[in-house]
Amino acid sequence: MGDMLLQMEGVVKTFPGVHALDECRFDLRAGEVHALVGENGAGKSTLMKVFAGIYKKDAGRILYKGKEEDIPTPRAAQQLGISMIHQELNLMPHLTVAQNIFIGREPRRRIPFVLHEKEINEKAEPLFSMLHLKLDPRTKVSNLTVARQQMVEIAKALSFNAEVLIMDEPTAALTDTEIEELFRIIRQLREKGVGIVYITHRLEELKRISDRITVMRDGRYIDTVPTQEATIDQIISMMVGRIIYETTPELPENPDQEIVLEVKNLRRGNVIKDVSFNLKRGEILGFAGLMGAGRTEVARAIFGADPIESGDIHILGKQVQIKSPRDAVAHGIGYLSEDRKRYGLTLGMDVEANIVLATFKKFLGYLGWVNSAKAHAAADRVVQALSIKTPGLQQKVKYLSGGNQQKVVIGKWLTADTKILIFDEPTRGIDVGAKSEIYKLLNDLARQGKAIIMISSELPEILRMSHRIVVMCEGRITGELSIDEATQENIMKYATQRRNGDNGRNEIIGSDSELRGD
């Protein structure tokens, strides 16, 4: 491990009403991967945003290469060799790859303000070859997969000759092969002496990629440990401040055999190819597969959010026509999107409004007046039942943590008397403590007789939660496993079972980008 690159001491940051960082410290050496972990709201991203010049610290010292630096803007950080890759990728989708990389410092011709487009493209090439990537600098970013967009971000960081690279949850949207590729690049950068800060929720990644681990909780620094000496349980207990044993909870009793939902020969173009399955009362049916396997598409088709070309949907033995989400709700189907902020919640409205939103009609009195007492009572019941942590029903949802936001969405669908609940990546972006609460909630719902579909890209989650597992690949169902026969290995085998041979496995980041052109 190399020289000390960064030392942060006593960093304080407050936002109106929130003490985001309280006397935090952090250090980073050249040529190491330093993981930064903690629950949501622990202050990991905030601390790194102070370092990357996005937030101004209220107090504290930043020593960079032994010199005290005040980093007022992202540009100042970049000039010092500090680059941050944000969780929500910061690219301009309408511009090309090369234009994105060199935004703000485009090569220019002699005439003032005039761009040297050719040079922009030429300068991008060596960055990709350094990463062993095949990518045309003239491609529009909107035509790339998320994984490839992330590679563009890394290439951009490299173009600054970054000595420090901060990655905020880089694997949140990647498939396993893509993660492998990302790790290869991270290791390559580490060997070149780049110091890498790796913010993550996925503790199983720590052992694979990090050298040291720093844990934060509630805006405070807890401890830093060498990865080799730490156990995952130890890290988790530091994160939550109490010891949680990650044991498999008992699944609800074997579901009774009544089939609630039956899907037959569902088809839509290239994305859903002849999908058939059934779902029983009280069952949690796991949908496994790589990103882009078509799981979300199937869910949206069942929910009426996207049209289908052919296929039947039966609910409780009766064929139904679902042409819109409204029809789906009327038939007792609820869909909890993977992107709850965009599709699941109205962030600017309060907890109560969000909970009663899907079932507004229930709370209308004469002449369309809202019966607020009734709505209030219903929302209150949900908050109690799901133990949503909120100062009150009038709290705006955007101020809740990810786990509590997810509970609000669940509460919304519970109010709607749904029989079938489709959870799409229910724990994405949710911290460990809140995750187990969501799991418990799912189990409770199944026990109450709800039929649940759970789409998840995290295999441990699928294995822990499901009674039965359906695996998809390239728009078709490639396998169905009972929980007794399912293992990570055989799920992955089905998930990569491409029709034209198993050639996709080692291919870097999916040929999806090419496919997406059609």
Partner: protein, 333 residues
Amino acid sequence: MQIEAARRKVEIRSLLRSDATQKVLAFAGLITLVVVFSLASPNFLTFDNVIGILLATAVNGVLALGVTFVIITAGIDLSVGTVMTFSAVMAGVFVTFWGLPVPLGVLAALLAGGLAGLVNGLTISKMKVPPFIATLGMLYATKGLSLVISGLKPIYFNDTPIFREIAMGSVLGAIIPGFVIPNAVLVLFGAAIAAGLILNKTVLGRYTFAIGSNEEATRLSGVNVDVWKTAVYGLSGMFSGLAGVLIAARLNSAQPALGSGYELDAIAAAVIGGTSLSGGEGTILGTVIGAFIISTLTNGLRILSVPQEWQMVVTGAIVVLAVYADILRRRRE
């Protein structure tokens, strides 16, 4: 065979989706209009009438150029019409009242427009007032200022006959006998070429797209978004100033009561030409075609003796149809 067919399908689809298609569609729409009106009336495709259409397009076209930049940043400029009037009045002040030489007066009028645009830009970038409100405020302010400064009366350019020539003279006619295309049309094309170069070849153009595509990402990339946004609104003001000079020259007077409603025509031209109100997309060629569609439509309907009220109804329908066609095209992806 199947693969071959599939590939061809993919090619056709990607062609349909490309930016060029919107322009082709818009252009095809324009041609259709011309053909329909020519068949409907023998008076449509005459030299004088075509010149009339070109002249009518000049002012709106120049306004639409500036608006295109603003809309690509995902903003909006409602003040272009009244800033145009304000600049025309200022041209009157500089040239007729102060007796400045015409070129200097014209330049000062452009700068007056640019200044109004800069104020828009600063209000938006520094005070964080939404573009709709900031430019709405400027719409009222410049409307009022024009009336105050002119004392409610038109300012004539009778002492400087050369001023009128800016729009109504014909340099081309002097070079090629019989080809008497008014200078205003040349100004439009010149301004369009300049706008195209700025949008596609300069840093300002690049940041215009970048801001519209993802403003926060642009900011985090170290681009001084506030400065460039202000510059975009300033540029829009300059184009309004140029339009002000054109309209004053054409009427040989600055009419202080004119100008409201022009902003809507300009926005319509940009939108018909494929500029996306959600930002990140748009072309100068598209906007110019859009401006021609609007003036051709107005002109043609007038020739067919369609009452003015109905002309507006048709224009409204065309704007919505053009955007709907674009949405349909994208949905096919």
